[in-house]
Point group: C2
Chain length 531, copies 2
């Protein structure tokens, strides 16, 4: 008779692309999110927590990754054959929530949301399949004041979490201006009735205008291949780094030049010295002698004759004017058409928050920290459900990126404070040790009794070390008899262990004896001395 | 030619059994969890956030719902054919995390975790397929001090969130004592070498002793069918409410009587008057004249001759002694063998926190609020992965139940504070309105400009009402000319609207005019007056 085969042991591992977060990784993120949510709340946004699971039908094909439409989510079939999936962002669920509850929600509806999202994508270094997003959106208004406010709130948020003014910039672009440029160069047709409308243009998930889609995909590579690379790709094509030839979109040199002038309209205006006074639209409010005014001036020429382009410029003008009135100058928020990320997804204004300080990359070369948040206007997301277009605009913060930036700047992190560890010299005295931690905890001091096997005292000190404990308490038979405790300053002890002479070491100044009744007071004093 | 069929609109709805949480539902829960985590942290527990997705292999079949082993999770197949699933609790992932990272973690490892879990179960009223858990566990120690500490922490936690002493009780039982009772009545065999061990007994997910499993399932109905019901079910069987006959387990009257004496050992000791002085085990520490001592006395008779039963009693004795020394009397934490929930799952001590105040059920009848947290010792969970038994104990708080209890007691909730709404009388003045909210926000006051279509002023006031706004700001051409604003106290306004005479109404004392420069000060004063 064959022996029954044993079930093999399960492997203790996270699924590929997932990870665990320990201690300070969790608490520092929570502290940062608390600050962000505090700003959102003060701006009048209400909390929303939608379910992590949605019907695939409700999520639709709005994944930002246009190259993999329909894919990218974790999905399964319910017992009644319905396909369910984990949300891949917080925007698609917002559209569903708004469509479902719109009669009970105020209009406009301003909500923030924080939570994990899941992407069924190839994981890579620092790229996980579960990560946090933190969004704020205003649904139900087409007013540019909503977009301007989101930009201002984004700047306030970055400062609230500890990014100093000068270390970030919120850049604003507008999809309609790009469409205007494409129309002006004849790459796409103007709408038949001449009325500005997005209907003739490519929208997220609906790339029916193949040429415009190609232009979008090409300028999306601006950050990677630069000005000359985009020029080649828009026209006759280009050899990439591997030597492979990438076909061009087939625009003329003239057409591609105008698109490049759009992308670089801000780049030529670095300071007020570069400003030429030629803002011509009489109804524009932005001061033509300002940085934003100069950028708008440069753009007006490029969208000549395009109603939609002009309407996009008017939106930028309105945003710039509102922000200017509130004191958000171009050092904090600036119109910049080189923001191309998201142009394919959004339908109007597009924003991106970039951190401008330098860090060293893996190879030790300095580079700008880069983008930590993005957003824009997406007027068609709710329409899928209700048939009615509902204007909406919002922003999403890349939580892990921003947290990494704060660590980079020393604004969070460092050593997490471990608990005071009360060691166990005499296991029949457990109740006395518990009474000590009880006293410490009631005084608000993080503390615990060592709960492992107390036989080996060295293990207890190793444990305290591993926990990052600032202080250890020691009391054995002798101490109980005399009603005292030994208090060991572990931070000072570690410094001494590193630098001290044998003499200094012997004196053990890092350990003091105090009456049991002074335990809390003495620990508190050592902790405050450690800072 | 057939017309191309339009894709039908997706339905805007959460999947069955899922829901959305709005505004105060989110923030009140977050505030409560903050307080809980604060206590956990002070007790020395470290944060852990494991991924929501686990391999099915790692999750195993540890679902507490023993009637549906293997089912109950949302699972799907990865592209490399691996089965993944959403975690159904926070304990199974902890076992995986500990097995995976044990070389980098301190021993004992004390961790807390907060987050959603998912159950693929039939949803019902108030029963959702995604809900929060908040756990604390100590892995790697068999010391009863760890269990005692979890009980003390649970009591502290309940008081920290606002449950008053006297309104809760943490009840403690022990699985080994039940096994001892079963052994004493001859329902299960003693281990061959006489050494106390769990190996001969039913453990979670491993119900190899059918009789013991049946007894467990039966006493689990204690809360539902009462003493006499359990007696019938343990012996010859019972007609249930529908008239159907439920077969009995087949124990003798004598056997069932002893099991019932175990279950009710505490019930006969309501106060110190009921105590008979007969705690006989000479090494027990608990004062025999105390409530816990009396319960232990009653149990000693029932486990006579069973080593495992006695070892379970020694554990309870140690817990009681430690808690007593720290001042947690039986008014807060008490040994009570009628705690049967979890006895099938855990391997040693079992705890349950019950709220003892009365609420009215759906039919208006008073009943105790009931259980809000439970836990116990589970020594075999990590063994699945490593082959080595790792002792562990912990507690899980039912977040939604506890939040409901706080609302019931008026400790949280009430009206959520909406933002101050700055109305828009003149849309060319948007920058001025934005400046007003800017001033208010900088003063820490939640505020926003109305961003909907400002044409209909009534809609703006309706919006403020729907947001629960305490104050509305009004400024039109006239106000700007005179550099003043109108401030409307909406709370007072609502009171007047309900009760005022026409004369009072006309006087509109709820609206005041102040210089623009005094906006912030005046709003702050009204808010503080509103409380």
């Amino acid at each position: 008779m064959a022996k029954p085969r044993k079930t093999p042991r399960p492997r203790a591992e996270t699924p590929k692309g997932f990870r665990d977060y320990f201690g300070a990784e969790v608490t520092e993120r929570a502290a940062m999110l608390d600050k962000i949510v505090g700003v959102y709340h003060r701006y009048g946004f209400d909390a929303l927590e939608s379910s992590a699971v949605e019907t695939v039908e409700a999520l639709g094909k709005f994944l930002p990754d246009v190259d993999r439409p329909g894919g990218g989510v974790f999905a399964w079939q319910d017992e009644d054959e319905k396909w369910l999936a984990l949300r891949y962002d917080l925007t698609a669920p917002l559209a569903r929530v708004y469509a479902q509850h719109r009669n009970d929600l105020p209009t406009p509806y301003r909500r923030y949301a924080v939570g994990p999202v899941w992407r069924n994508e190839k994981p890579g270094p620092g790229r996980f399949r579960q990560f946090y997003q933190c969004d704020a959106d205003t649904v139900g208004t087409s007013s540019m004041a909503a977009d301007a406010e989101i930009c201002a709130m984004l700047a306030d948020t970055l400062e609230a979490v500890g990014i100093e003014r000068g270390d970030y910039v919120v850049r604003v672009n507008n999809r309609k201006v790009l469409n205007g440029v494409l129309e002006a160069v004849g790459a796409i047709k103007a709408p038949p009735n001449g009325k500005p409308s997005m209907d003739n243009f490519v929208a997220a998930g609906d790339l029916d205008n193949e040429l415009a889609a190609q232009v979008l995909r090409t300028i999306d590579k601006f950050d990677k291949v630069g000005e000359s690379g985009v020029r080649e790709l828009l026209t006759t094509g280009r050899k990439d780094a591997s030597g492979a030839f990438i076909d061009g979109v087939g625009l003329s040199q003239n057409q591609s030049e105008i698109i490049l002038r759009f992308l670089t309209a801000k780049n030529n205006i670095q300071s007020e010295d570069d400003i030429r006074l030629n803002l011509t639209e009489s109804d524009f409010k932005t001061d033509p002698s300002s940085v934003n005014g100069a950028t708008l001036s440069a753009l007006i020429e490029l969208v000549e004759g395009s109603e939609i382009g002009l309407s996009g410029l008017r939106e930028l003008d309105e945003i710039a004017d509102l922000l200017d009135a509130q004191g958000y100058g171009p050092d904090r928020i600036v119109i910049d058409p080189s923001v191309v990320r998201g142009l394919g997804y959004y339908t109007g204004p597009v924003f991106e928050a970039e951190l401008t300080f330098e860090i060293l990359d893996e190879k030790g070369r300095p580079r700008q920290f880069g983008s930590v948040a993005g957003g824009g206007r997406y007027d068609d997301l709710v329409k899928r459900f209700t048939g009615q277009a509902v204007p909406a605009t919002g922003v999403s913060i890349g939580v892990d990126r921003l947290l990494a930036a704060l660590r980079e700047k020393g604004r969070t992190g460092g050593e997490a404070q471990g608990p005071v560890v009360v060691t166990v010299m005499d296991r029949t005295r457990m109740a006395d040790y518990q009474a000590m931690v009880g006293d410490l905890r009631r005084a608000g001091i993080r503390a615990e009794v060592y709960l492992g096997n107390p036989k080996n005292f060295g293990n207890q000190m190793k444990y305290a070390d591993r926990r990052g404990s600032p202080v250890a308490i020691i009391a054995g038979e002798d101490e109980f008899a005399r009603d005292v405790v030994q208090i060991k300053d572990l931070i000072l002890g570690a410094q001494i262990a590193e630098n001290a002479t044998l003499e200094e070491w012997k004196e053990r100044p890092s350990q003091i004896e105090v009456p049991r009744a002074q335990l809390v007071e003495s620990v508190r004093e050592i902790l405050s001395r450690q800072g």
